[in-house]
């Protein structure tokens, strides 16, 4: 048997924890089951938002409970029921019987994630009540809200689950909900295809995740996070680990597990090489893009790595892989964002790029820095996505930024919110992005800096350079987005002095928002356009309160969120609450060291980043797009390097490469297998059927002629024989009486003659 390690903490048992995930589930079930028949969609709102609000309050309550306890005891658990018991499994420690429970655990990390999921989730639900207003009429509204609630349930299972099975349940659940919501307008082919793409790409990642998960179970004999963390030291003390006939040092196995799990994180969190689904996922409604594809679901890979930090800190190769892939993704995705015109595509590549930053932080071993960027990013990217949703709605479902412009005058709240979020993502002091992004870049740099010796790994230096370039690009494309959308003159409604607009794709593929579920007849669209929010005659207008308020709240959070985690070097501003808060769940390789002295080099880098680097990028974008309303410079640039622009605009043809390298061969293999199926397998089956048919024809003939013939012969003989007797039975009483009389006479004669 495996030795149970002494747990570090004494968790607090709670009986209301299960309500946090289950309330949204109840909301989803209620809305999903009854929504179809509800005339008043306000009832749907009540269930969906009410369950989210109560769930959020419960998380807040649990969070306050946690704050009141000592750091090592910050854990609230609830075991709801025993899920399954695994008997006599062969693991490293011998035979084990493992009981997997449906259990929830709130510790500092999952409490923060829970706050994020329910809090941001609630705001996005609120935004959806305005954004999805068109769906209220065509009866699809309840479906959207039910999916959204189901997503929150899955996501909460993922972050609050106390073991890997629960995490995997949530992991697959969010994948399912993502699929359902991307394909929400499933009557449009491109949305259905995008949903399928997201699902299949995630399956590739899930394969790695499952393998890693099985390996962990083989090594530890448990799936419970607390047990895993507590046993790590014992496992590491082994000279070597033998599994499947392979003997290697524990670190080798940890590297393998780390790489497998990272493949899963790549799928879910859209990292190279599995990032391709996220830009396509923009086919879903914009609130979905904000909630699932920016704030929560795509961060589950990060959460998983932070949760498995005890694996990663002992797996240097896997950690380097995370660092490199993160940096590469941050750079490549940011460069793709430079040349996109679809407002949501820019934000999608921005999300991929920012996720890359988070993985860089993880890869540098700075789990708290990476997680902190998850939170700040959730605030500003959700604000940006929701703001872009408002913009798209105000521009009558136009997504091409060339057809926008000048919206600052019409939509002051949205402009202010998105402006704050832009400054945050660009990393301008004192917005939240500054603190989180520079912390990550500093930690990466520190890997090379190595306490002033500059003897760290070259990889750190390379990735730091990539990160800095990506940060520059981030500031550039965000200001480009803001300028194209909000500055200058409104270029919609036929007003276009500089010839910048392109034919609108509103009525074709790029439209994200449903006009009408039952086809694209012009009448349907016009009628909708007028009564929903005015039309071209009025120009763009600010969106209703239930849409701009959530955006503004998120922008405020993006403004102040950074002060929750002040780097050591800036301690005169405040302390690193977040890092300290999250420290108990991190595996300590060495005894904790005292806080390092603020190094002057960190000051210089920070100063350069926020005063020179990011503003330079923003200034460049302003010069290109803002100062000159004809966009002469970028157009000259495109004219000078048409291939370069085309290459970037087409996202380096990576989708096409995948199509040619993997999907095409897969399809061909499928066709081959299909042909084999048709010729060989079906042939064999049909041949067997034909043989059986012939045999049964013969058997039928034998049966009909020989067997039935014999039976009929017997019957015929009996019939002939019985025919004679039948005539005796005339039914006439007098016949019988006559026979009786005859019999009497015969008897009498015989009697008397015999005497």
């Amino acid at each position: 048997m495996i030795m149970e390690p002494a747990l570090l903490s004494t968790p607090l048992h709670s009986s209301v924890l299960w309500l946090i995930p289950f309330l949204p589930l109840f909301g989803a079930i209620l809305n999903g089951a009854t929504g179809r028949w509800l005339k008043n969609t306000k009832v749907v709102d009540f269930f969906a938002l009410g369950s989210m609000a109560v769930s959020f309050l419960l998380v807040v309550y649990t969070f306050i409970q946690l704050m009141g306890r000592a750091p090592v005891d910050r854990s609230v658990t609830q075991t709801v029921w025993t899920w399954l018991t695994l008997g006599d499994a062969h693991v490293l420690g011998g035979l084990t019987t493992n009981t997997m429970t449906w259990a929830y655990k709130v510790d500092p990390l999952s409490a923060c994630m829970g706050l994020l999921v329910t809090g941001v989730g609630f705001l996005i639900h609120l935004f959806s009540t305005g954004y999805m207003a068109d769906e209220r009429k065509n009866g699809q509204y309840y479906r959207f809200m039910a999916y959204l609630n189901l997503f929150v349930f899955s996501m909460l299972n993922l972050v609050l689950g106390a073991n890997m099975i629960m995490m995997f349940l949530g992991w697959e659940g969010v994948g399912l909900c993502s699929y359902l919501l991307i394909g929400f307008y499933f009557e449009r082919e491109y949305a259905a295809i995008a949903g399928k793409k997201a699902f299949v790409t995630n399956r590739i990642g899930d394969f790695g995740f499952l393998i890693g998960f099985f390996l962990i179970f083989m090594v530890y004999g448990s799936v419970d996070f607390d047990t895993l963390m507590g046993m790590t030291r014992t496992i590491l003390a082994r000279p070597e680990i033998t599994l499947f006939g392979l003997s290697h040092a524990p670190t080798w196995w940890f590297n393998l597990i780390g790489c497998c799990l990272f493949l899963g994180a790549c799928g879910k969190s859209a990292q190279i090489p599995l990032y391709v689904w996220l830009p396509d996922a923009m086919a879903g409604p914009t609130p979905v893009s904000a909630l699932i594809h920016a704030a929560t679901m795509v961060t589950s890979g990060l959460y998983m790595i932070a949760r498995m930090n005890f694996i990663y800190v002992n797996a240097p190769v896997a950690l380097s892989l995370v660092l490199f892939i993160g940096a590469l993704t941050a750079l490549v995705a940011a460069s793709m964002g430079l040349a996109q015109y679809d407002i949501k595509k820019v934000l999608a590549y921005s999300t991929v790029s920012q996720l890359g930053f988070m993985f860089m932080g993880m890869g540098a071993g700075a789990f708290s820095a990476g997680m902190f960027h998850v939170f700040t990013h959730a605030f500003f990217k959700a604000a940006l996505f929701l703001g872009s949703g408002s913009v798209i709605m105000a521009c009558h479902h136009e997504q091409d930024m060339r057809n926008m412009g000048g919206l600052r005058k019409y939509m002051p709240w949205t402009f202010a919110s998105m402006g704050i979020a832009t400054l945050a993502i660009a990393g301008i002091f004192p917005f939240s992005g500054f603190f989180s992004k520079d912390e990550i870049l500093w930690k990466v740099f520190e890997g090379w800096y190595a306490g002033g010796t500059y003897h760290g790994s070259t990889l750190s230096l390379v990735t730091w350079c990539m990160g800095m370039i990506a940060a520059f690009m981030t500031a550039f494309y965000m200001v480009r987005l803001m300028v194209m959308t909000f500055f200058g003159e409104y270029r919609g409604a036929g007003h276009d002095p500089h010839g910048l607009t392109v034919p609108s794709e509103v009525h074709h593929a790029a439209d994200d928002h449903s006009h009408d579920a039952h086809g694209h007849d012009a009448h349907g669209h016009d009628a909708h356009g007028h009564d929903a929010h005015g039309h071209d005659a009025h120009g763009p207008q600010e969106v209703p309160w239930n849409m701009w308020v959530p955006v503004f709240i998120l922008a405020l959070l993006a403004l102040v969120g950074g002060f929750l985690n002040i780097p050591h070097s800036l301690h005169w501003l405040g302390s690193s609450h977040f890092s300290e808060w999250i420290a108990p769940i991190l595996y300590q390789v060495h005894p904790a060291e005292g806080p390092e002295a603020a190094s002057s080099i960190e000051y210089i880098l920070m100063f350069v980043a926020t005063v020179i680097w990011a503003p330079a990028a923003m200034g460049l974008a302003w010069v290109f797009y803002g100062a000159d309303p004809t966009w002469a410079r970028p157009r000259a640039f495109v004219k000078r390097f048409p291939e370069l622009f085309e290459w970037v605009n087409a996202k380096y043809y990576i989708d096409e490469f995948y199509e040619a390298a993997f999907i095409g061969p897969c399809k061909q293999l499928g066709a081959q297998l299909w042909a084999f199926d048709v010729w060989a397998v079906d042939g064999m089956v049909n041949g067997a059927a034909r043989t059986t048919l012939n045999v049964s024809h013969a058997a039928h003939w034998f049966d009909a002629k020989i067997v039935d013939g014999l039976v009929n012969l017997v019957a015929w003989i009996l019939q002939q024989v019985s025919g004679g007797f039948r005539k005796l039975q005339s039914g006439r009483v007098q016949n019988y009486a006559f026979v009786m009389f005859l019999g009497f006479l015969v008897f009498a004669f015989w009697k008397f003659l015999a005497c």
Partner: protein
């Protein structure tokens, strides 16, 4: 005092008439009457032999047969009535439900 043989001859005739009636006539009532004839032929024999042997057992037996005949007629007539209600006829040649 008639001769024993004469009585037996009359009895034989009566019985033959009864048998012929039962076998030939189609009307159920007539058949019943012919059965009575046969019974009475038997009664005549019983009484004749009783006188011949000088005992009274035959006479007593004839009385019993008379009672039995009365009962038989009651049941037979009831059957005929039931038959008539069921089939609207008492012609026995039309009643052949048991024909094979």
């Amino acid at each position: 005092m008639a001769d024993m043989n004469q009585v037996l001859f009359v009895s034989f005739l009566l019985f033959s008439v009864g048998v012929a009636g039962v076998l030939i006539r189609r009307n159920a009532l007539v058949i019943l009457m012919c059965v009575e004839l046969m019974l009475n032929a038997a009664n005549l024999n019983l009484i004749a032999f009783a006188r011949h042997s000088g005992t009274v057992g035959g006479q007593a037996f004839a009385l019993l047969v008379m009672g039995l005949a009365a009962a038989e007629v009651a049941i037979g007539l009831a059957l005929v009535v039931a038959l008539y209600r069921k089939k609207d006829t008492i012609q026995v040649d039309q009643i052949n439900l048991l024909k094979g």
